[in-house]
Structures are given as structure tokens and as C-alpha cells.
């Protein structure tokens, strides 16, 4: 641990908005992709069930 306190970590030596802005957007983008993939799977399963009923 190189920081003296938690507020030092958050301050990032004055670059907080750049550093946290990078890490937060990466995390949000990947979480968003996971949500989209879960939705796509559910939609595909629903379509497959509908195809089964018709045939």
C-alpha cells in the first residue's frame, strides 16, 4: 500500500477525474455488455420456444 490514507487514494495525486473516469467507464462498459448478453440469451431462448410451439 503506497497511500497514506483512503482520501489520498481517491485524490490520485490530483488526477482523480482522469484515473477514476477511465476505470469507471471500463467497468461500466463491461457490466453493460454482460447485461446485453444476458438479455440476448433470454430473447434467443424465447424465440426458440416460440419456434418449437409452431412446428
Amino acid at each position: 500500500m503506497i497511500w497514506d490514507s483512503w482520501s489520498d487514494l481517491i485524490a490520485m495525486g490530483g488526477y482523480a477525474k482522469y484515473v477514476w473516469g477511465s476505470f469507471a467507464v471500463v467497468a461500466a462498459t463491461l457490466a453493460g455488455e454482460q447485461a446485453a448478453l444476458a438479455l440476448r440469451r433470454r430473447t434467443a431462448l424465447k424465440a426458440a420456444r416460440a419456434a418449437g410451439v409452431r412446428s
Partner: protein, 261 residues
């Protein structure tokens, strides 16, 4: 003797090749991918926990760039993966084009959105790094411009495939676009050597020792592995959805969805 031998090896080879080649069938690959995904996601979480700890808590502050340099722990892995995923996408698109294997083309389609996301992240984190170190969010230098072209190639690939309703024709057209675009990848990679760019040269290369602190390098490599395993997991998740969509009328999908309930 000769004829017996020939027939023997032919059958033998088929049996041996069959073990691996059967995964070229969507039906066989689907459950295999399903078993791999949870392990890949768990590995990605574990690796990013270690990588983030090193990057945010253990690695020292840079003497030139202060703590702004910490963006490197997501920027470089995202940029490497944006190029690597493109190469993988073009490879599978080419295999699909030449061998006419549907799963290969589906793999290319499954890679594209994740590749586009990593390209976006490389550009976004790059802008947030450029502002404090160069004083500009964006400059039209060769590295940044060629990475932006990469984003357009991914978007073009997805748009082209979405615009063509016949899946086989969509796969073929996408493959041609993906293969033409491959030329952009070495341009991105070597741009900092070929041209005088504002973007710094690489601190890590295959030919020489890296010019950065050990902890910085370790954090960056572990974050690369983390995002890499994540990218494989996300690609397989999307591939499974694509397989379900295109094979929904088949008997095995119908059997699968009744077991899923």
C-alpha cells in the same frame, strides 16, 4: 497389404480427427462453451482483483506523469485486445470463407462487438490520459487516427452483416471487409515507430527488456490477462446466443430448451 493399410489409416485418421473436428459443429460446441464460460468469468474476476490491487495500491507513482499514468492499467490492455480481437475476427472470418464452416463465421460475428467495445475503451481511456499529459483530449496523430479507423472497421463489419438478411451472404461480405481491414492492424502497432507521433512509443516489446518498473509491468500484464479471459468469455456467451438464434428450429435446440426449464 497396401490396401489393408490404407483403409486402416483412413478409418483411424477419421476417428482421431473426429474427436476435434466434431467441435466445428454448433451442436457439439454449444455445451463445451457453456462449461467454459463460468470458469473464464471467475478467472477474469480473480485476475482483475489482483491486477487492480497492484495497479492502484502497490505500484509506485510515476516520477514524470504522477498518478495519471495509472490509466495504463486499463488503457494498454484494452488497446492490445482491440487489435488482437480484430486479428482473431479476421482469422475466423477467413476460415469461414474458405472452408464454409458456419461456426467459424459465427465466431467472427461474436468477436466483433467485444472488439468494438475494447477499441472504444482504448480511445476513451486514451483521451482521459491525453488531457492531463498532452493538454488535449484528442490529436490527429497516426496512432490515434488508426485506432479510430479500427473502431469504424468493427462498426462497418457489424453494420454490413446486419444489413444482409441471408446469413451466408452476410458472412461472406463481412469476411471480405474484415480481411481488407487487417492491413490497419500493423499500421496501428507500428505507427509510433513509422511516424513522429505525440503518442509515446511502447515501453514493452518482444525484442527488448521493458523500460518500466517491475510492479507497473506486472500490473499491466495481469490486467491484460484479466481482460483477455473476459473477452473470451463474452465472445463465447455471444456465440451461444447466435447459435441458439440460428438453430432454433433444430431438434437439439428444442431438446436443450426443455432441459433448461
Amino acid at each position: 497389404m497396401l490396401s489393408i493399410r490404407t483403409s486402416y489409416t483412413a478409418g483411424d485418421e477419421q476417428a482421431r480427427a473426429g474427436n476435434w473436428l466434431r467441435y466445428a459443429a454448433p451442436q457439439a460446441f454449444f455445451p463445451l462453451a457453456g462449461r467454459l464460460i463460468p470458469w473464464l468469468l471467475a478467472a477474469a474476476l480473480l485476475l482483475s482483483a489482483i491486477g487492480l490491487y497492484i495497479g492502484l495500491f502497490a505500484a509506485p507513482t510515476d516520477f514524470q506523469q504522477g498518478d495519471a499514468y495509472r490509466i495504463i492499467f486499463v488503457h494498454v490492455p484494452a488497446a492490445w485486445l482491440s487489435m488482437l480481437i480484430y486479428l482473431a475476427m479476421a482469422f475466423w472470418a477467413a476460415v469461414g470463407l474458405v472452408l464454409n464452416t458456419r461456426l467459424s463465421s459465427m465466431m467472427a460475428s461474436a468477436l466483433a462487438p467485444t472488439g468494438a467495445l475494447f477499441t472504444f475503451l482504448a480511445l476513451w481511456t486514451g483521451a482521459l490520459w491525453g488531457k492531463p499529459t498532452w493538454g488535449a483530449w484528442w490529436v490527429w496523430d497516426a496512432r490515434l487516427t488508426s485506432e479510430l479507423i479500427l473502431l469504424f472497421l468493427y462498426i462497418g463489419f457489424m453494420a454490413l452483416q446486419a444489413a444482409i438478411s441471408d446469413p451466408r451472404r452476410a458472412d461472406r461480405a463481412g469476411a471480405v471487409l474484415a480481411l481488407v481491414g487487417v492491413v490497419n492492424v500493423p499500421v496501428i502497432y507500428f505507427s509510433v515507430q513509422w511516424w513522429n507521433t505525440l503518442h509515446q512509443g511502447s515501453s514493452v516489446s518482444l525484442r527488448s527488456a521493458p523500460t518500466m518498473a517491475t510492479l507497473m509491468l506486472q500490473g499491466m500484464l495481469i490486467m491484460t490477462l484479466a481482460l483477455w479471459t473476459y473477452a473470451i468469455a463474452a465472445t463465447l456467451q455471444r456465440l451461444r446466443a447466435i447459435v441458439l438464434e440460428s438453430e432454433r428450429h433444430t431438434e437439439w435446440v428444442q431438446r436443450y430448451i426443455t432441459e433448461e426449464k
